[in-house]
Amino acid sequence: MTELPPPAAKKLGLVIDLDTCVGCHACATNCKEWNTGGHLGPLPDFNAYSAGAEGVWFNRVHSYEAGEGEEGRTVHFPRSCLHCETPSCVTVCPTGASYKRAEDGIVLVNTDTCIGCGLCAWACPYGARELDEDEGVMKKCTLCVDRIYNETIPEPQRQPACVITCPVGARHFGDLGDPTSKVSRLVAERGGYDLMPEMGYAPVNKYLPPREKPPMRAHSLEEAAPTGMDIKNPLLRWLDRALSR
């Protein structure tokens, strides 16, 4: 089994706003194109042009409905590794290939020592592990570790590909270990929550719930005060309106 590093102050992760995600899949495909040429790439596609097409994706978007009828909601739910604080996908690894970085908490796989046994995929309740059947090793979201520190990329773009590409701005990246960071404040303000906290893995990534809807006006427009003329011909109320252009 593999040991976790001592808890670190820095906890890099994502905050995903379910109030604004429209389910466009930009995060999923941009992730795939970045990472297929990145640290844990390639991300192969099997049966790419026939039935049963299935590839390796580090980020997938699921769409479903919650509730019934008009009061229900359509939810677009992007899913990727949550970079848990106490991830069993790491502790379960028999070779030490699956690990959590001490310096920033990113959960990674060392493909040189991964034997593709799949225990981590069993252990992860979030379905975040992706087996590359061609190479026989497990792969997963790297939080774009090869982007976020990359000095060849302009500083404002040193963010995970899924964040930088999200057209609605529903994805945020930062240090959730720092209570003053933008992402931590966002979580505090918007009531960000953990997925399945009862599992005890303490996910670093947070999801923001739908905002409270603006109130609906209780009453319809009041009638403009009717006059005797109005009742006969409503147009007449505009006859004496002094207008100027």
Binding site: L4, A26, K32, P44, S88, L108, E151, S220
Partner: protein, 964 residues
């Protein structure tokens, strides 16, 4: 069992290994060895992209942070562009048909031979009867070139795909407010407090809308989505109004009714910026009835409270907006406002009256009207920005009504879409919410004069003679129609005829059907670019295929020559005689021109280019380059020098040096010899280099005083004129009442030299060319018994595929490789249908088989599916067992291109909007029944699998590294 189930103590007892085994990660590897900017083409949005290359291959495509359209973001399609670049469906060389049409038997030929064949056919047509070339260019982003080429050729038969896409929005907008929803305008995302979106799934614009919705949500503005289906954008709306398809116009008129009834109307805006106070002649039965009363100079008149009839554009006018007035010449006239108010105050538009038809309760309509009015009138925005109006009056602030609207496909794709869209613009005008802070705004170069230009070219086509003017332009009345003296259409698609007088984008969906019937005449050559007419771009693709393969008595094909240019092996390829293989979007030059569909925003005009970021590894050429060479080979005057030699050496040469008017060319930026002029200026030999250095786009930033009230903003209009964006700097008066429409109606009532040729057409024009917005049930539903077909059926554009239909994209097809028919759970329960049942979807036109999915968020009387996900077996180099071909289905199979025959002589009208010719895809009515137990679970129609053209290799099973 997973180890996670082990008790913690047991886990602790297991042997431990070093974490990560000391892995060292390279975190600062360069992305690639080269990065180039260009413009995306995975949909119509035209985002700026940065393409990173490594070892000559595309490594990564990202949004360009500096680009005005997408500001660094990129959608799901754009981010998958790498797989389109390396798709195994790319055509590899010119092809000549050697077997029967549809057999897929082709021989690879050289470009020389291909150009010789095309030139031969086209030269013959041009020398005999140029109308017999039908040149239709699909998802073309270079219409300023392709349309110009067609005019030079001398055929009136040109258009792109707008006739089955957006023309209702374009026409309604351009004839009403001088701009349009579509992609000519945008909500004020920074200031709007209330946003209502009609009928938009994934549409124009893609990323700007997404970016804007993100801003709205962050600011807590209310977002209302009016849409029969609750997916995509509607999913994040604060309120979803699941309206019945085709009833939006009635719903909007009920909102207008409420605003008028309660006097929540911005009268000041109306008299300053619209024709609300213009006088309309009241002379029932007369040839001038319903036209504007004008003075001797032709200026419209209004009635001043003190001074009587006066130029409606005068400063200081105190106009009457109701009442009946005696004109100086003795005629009677009433203001537009009165006609408008009378109509919409009618009980016919009361919420209680329309609720059942719309499927929206009367209380809800009243409440929404109240919310809109509250924001518009009680929560105004004031920007401390002085500006000067067209009359030269300085205003210290800009006051806005922060209610924004946007609408697209769900309005556009109905046969009542033109009037529905006009009704929406009327609602905006009543609220004073057009190009003011917080409202919908024009994207420069809009607004343009109403209508924006002269009538369409196309009359008097003669052999070997160009047509003067723009083929797709703007009729002002019957005299501008493209009809013969007997009233019959000049164009093959009957655009700009009495069948569709304002068919500004042509009617591509009718070309093949009309040619098949030789109605109005036969054609010789059908020349198409990027238009999948044998599949998802056609209404009734089976009929299109039948016509394309039909032979005449002499053994010749009904349409003797079909030339097709596309980059990919689409379903249409097997039905062409000559294939001119195009490049991918990353291998080409292009100009996204102000002469066509530019990338301007509310913040200023702009345009863009594509540059080749990678060289083709196939024997393919960019279509525009081919077209320019064909122009030279045919000797089209604008494409040859005086000695007959080619005028342009290639497409870049054309982009930089072609001048449509002196100083005006395809690109507006970096003009003049030193590249410092904008809009107008002599050609600059370094222009493209300048664009490349600027990220492949150019934009002009409007100063703050020009950002709003553009239709009446002196500085904006004068600067726009100086840049050549508009012809004159007069105020653009918004047209509540449309005089061009009234002129058509008068013709139908028997006035004037040009009149509709028969009673059926006359009745249509009289009814549908109403100068004020009207609502009518979609034509298909009026004209045939809808009882057997109780459900409306519509499609939606998936965000992951829209305009990127090539499901050949290995990533996108994993996201959506098949489509189901979505039905409200309660409706399904009533019909005895269950999730995943195989069902027949039947219409008056036929039936198609697909699989059912149940959902909550859909109007109970509506079924829908994703558009164009279904593919024909074998096409796109997909294996025939692909879900696109086995489970994916096209609703197109059950949509007729014709309305049911409704007149005694069997004359048929297109299944289109009667004003604009817009294909009425969403008027469809169906019934849904469960397939018999013994029917095979395979979609139907399921035409035979297409054979792979020569040169294409079988697609790989495993893709590890794209392009390797």
């Amino acid at each position: 069992m997973p180890d996670t189930n082990l008790p913690r103590d047991d886990r602790a007892a297991l042997p431990r290994r070093m974490t990560g085994n000391g892995e060292v990660i390279e975190t600062s590897a360069p992305i690639g060895d080269t990065v180039k900017t260009t413009t995306c083409y995975m949909c119509a949005c035209r985002c700026g992209i940065k393409v990173h290359l490594k070892d000559g291959r595309v490594r990564y495509i990202e949004g360009n942070p500096d680009h005005p359209v997408n500001r660094g973001v990129l959608c799901g399609k754009g981010s998958a562009g790498i797989m389109t670049q390396y798709a195994p469906s790319r055509l590899r060389a010119p092809l000549k048909r050697v077997g029967p049409r549809g057999s897929g038997e082709f021989a690879e030929i050289s470009w020389d031979e291909a150009m010789e064949i095309a030139t031969g056919w086209l030269r013959n047509v041009r020398a005999t009867d140029p109308r017999k070339l039908a040149f239709f260019t699909g998802r073309d982003q270079s219409q300023s070139l392709t349309g110009f080429w067609a005019a030079q050729f001398g055929t009136p038969n040109f258009a792109a795909h707008g006739g089955f896409c957006s023309v209702n929005m374009a026409a309604a907008g351009l004839y009403t407010i001088g701009g349009s929803f579509w992609e000519f305008g945008e909500p004020d995302w920074e200031h709007a407090k209330y946003f209502v979106m009609f009928g938009v799934a994934e549409d124009h614009d893609s990323n700007p809308i997404k970016i804007g919705l993100g801003k709205l949500k962050a600011r807590g503005a209310k977002f209302v989505s009016v849409n029969p289906v609750r997916t995509g954008y509607s999913a994040i709306a604060d309120e979803w109004v699941g309206i019945r398809p085709g009833t939006d116009g009635l719903f909007v008129m009920a909102l207008i009714h409420e605003l008028l009834r309660t006097d929540r109307v911005d009268l000041d805006f109306l008299v300053r910026y619209t024709n609300a106070h213009w006088l309309v002649v009241k002379n029932p039965g007369g040839a001038d009835d319903g036209l504007f009363a004008r003075d001797a100079d032709g200026k419209p008149l209004a009635w001043d409270r003190a001074r009587g009839a006066m130029d409606a554009g005068s400063a200081g006018l105190s106009p009457q907006i109701v009442g009946e007035y005696d004109l100086p010449d003795g005629r009677k006239a009433v203001p537009v406002f009165q006609l408008m108010a009378q109509r919409y105050l009618s009980p016919d538009y009361a919420p209680d009256k329309v609720a059942a038809t719309c499927g929206v309760s009367a209380d809800r309509i009243r409440r929404l009207a109240a919310e809109i009015a509250d924001i518009a009138f009680n929560h105004t925005i004031t920007l401390d920005v002085p500006w000067t109006d067209s009359l030269g009056r300085r205003h210290e602030t800009m006051v806005g009504r922060p209610v924004s609207f946007h609408a697209m496909r769900g309005i556009s794709a109905h046969s009542n879409g033109f009037h529905t869209c006009r009704a929406l613009h009327l609602l905006q005008m009543i609220l004073g919410a057009i190009d003011v802070p917080g409202s919908w705004r024009y994207k420069s170069p809009f607004p343009r004069p109403i209508p924006p230009g002269p009538g369409p070219a196309g009359k008097g086509a003669k052999p070997n003679t160009p047509l003067a003017g723009n083929i797709l332009s703007f009729p002002h009345g019957p005299d501008d129609l493209l009809v013969h003296d007997d009233g019959s259409p000049i164009r093959i698609d009957k655009a700009f005829s009495w069948h569709a007088p304002l068919a500004l984008h042509g009617m591509m969906h009718m070309v093949i059907g009309n040619a098949g019937k030789a109605d109005p005449y036969e054609i010789d050559t059908l020349f198409m670019f990027m238009a999948n007419m044998a599949w998802n771009s056609a209404m009734n693709p089976g009929e299109v295929i039948r016509i394309l393969t039909e032979t005449r008595e002499d053994g010749e094909y009904r349409i003797p020559h079909v030339i097709y240019s596309d980059a990919y092996f689409s379903e249409t390829v097997p039905y062409a005689d000559l294939i001119l293989p195009d490049t991918t979007y990353l291998e080409r030059w292009d100009a996204i021109s102000l002469l066509d569909r530019p990338i301007g925003s509310a913040h200023g005009p702009g345009d863009a280019i594509r540059q080749p970021v990678i060289q083709p590894d196939r024997d393919v050429r960019g279509f525009q380059e081919v077209l320019i060479e064909l122009g030279a080979r045919l000797g089209l005057p604008a494409f040859v020098k005086e000695d007959g030699s080619p005028k342009f050496k290639d497409y870049p040469d054309y982009i930089m040096n072609h001048q449509r008017m002196p100083g005006v060319g395809p690109l507006a930026g970096f003009r003049g010899e030193d590249g410092t002029k904008k809009g107008v200026g002599e050609p600059n030999p370094n222009q493209l280099q300048k664009y490349i250095e600027n990220g492949c786009f150019w934009r002009h930033h409007l100063p703050p005083e020009q950002l709003y009230f553009k239709h009446a903003n002196k500085a904006y209009l004068e600067d726009s004129k100086a840049m050549g964006l508009i012809g004159k700097s007069d105020q653009i008066v918004l047209q509540i009442y449309s005089e061009p429409l009234q002129k058509f109606r008068l013709a139908a009532q028997g006035h004037g030299a040009k009149q509709p040729p028969d009673e059926a057409t006359r009745a249509r024009i009289a009814t549908y060319c109403d100068p004020l917005p009207i609502w009518y049930a979609p034509l298909e539903q009026q004209q045939h018994d809808t009882e057997p077909f109780p459900l409306s059926a519509i499609t939606q554009r998936p965000m992951d595929h829209y305009h990127s239909w090539g499901s050949q994209n290995a990533w996108l097809r994993q996201i959506r490789g098949a489509n189901k028919l979505y039905m409200n759970r309660l409706t399904a329960h009533r019909l005895g249908l269950a999730q995943d049942d195989w069902v027949w979807v039947e219409s008056r036109n036929g039936r198609v088989k697909g699989q059912l999915a149940l959902m909550e968020g859909v109007n109970p009387d509506t079924v829908w599916t994703w558009n164009a996900v279904g593919k024909r077996a074998g096409a796109w180099n997909l294996s025939p067992d692909s879900p696109e071909a086995t489970r994916g289905f096209l609703l197109n199979h059950v949509i007729s291109e014709w309305l049911p025959a409704q007149v005694a002589d069997g004359q048929r009208f297109a299944n289109s909007d009667p004003v604009t010719g817009q294909a009425a895809w969403y008027d469809l009515r169906v019934r849904v029944t469960k397939c018999a137990a013994d029917e095979i679970p395979l979609t139907d129609p399921h035409p035979a699998a297409l054979e792979r053209p020569p040169g294409l290799k079988p697609a790989p099973d495993l893709v590890r590294e794209p392009g390797k």
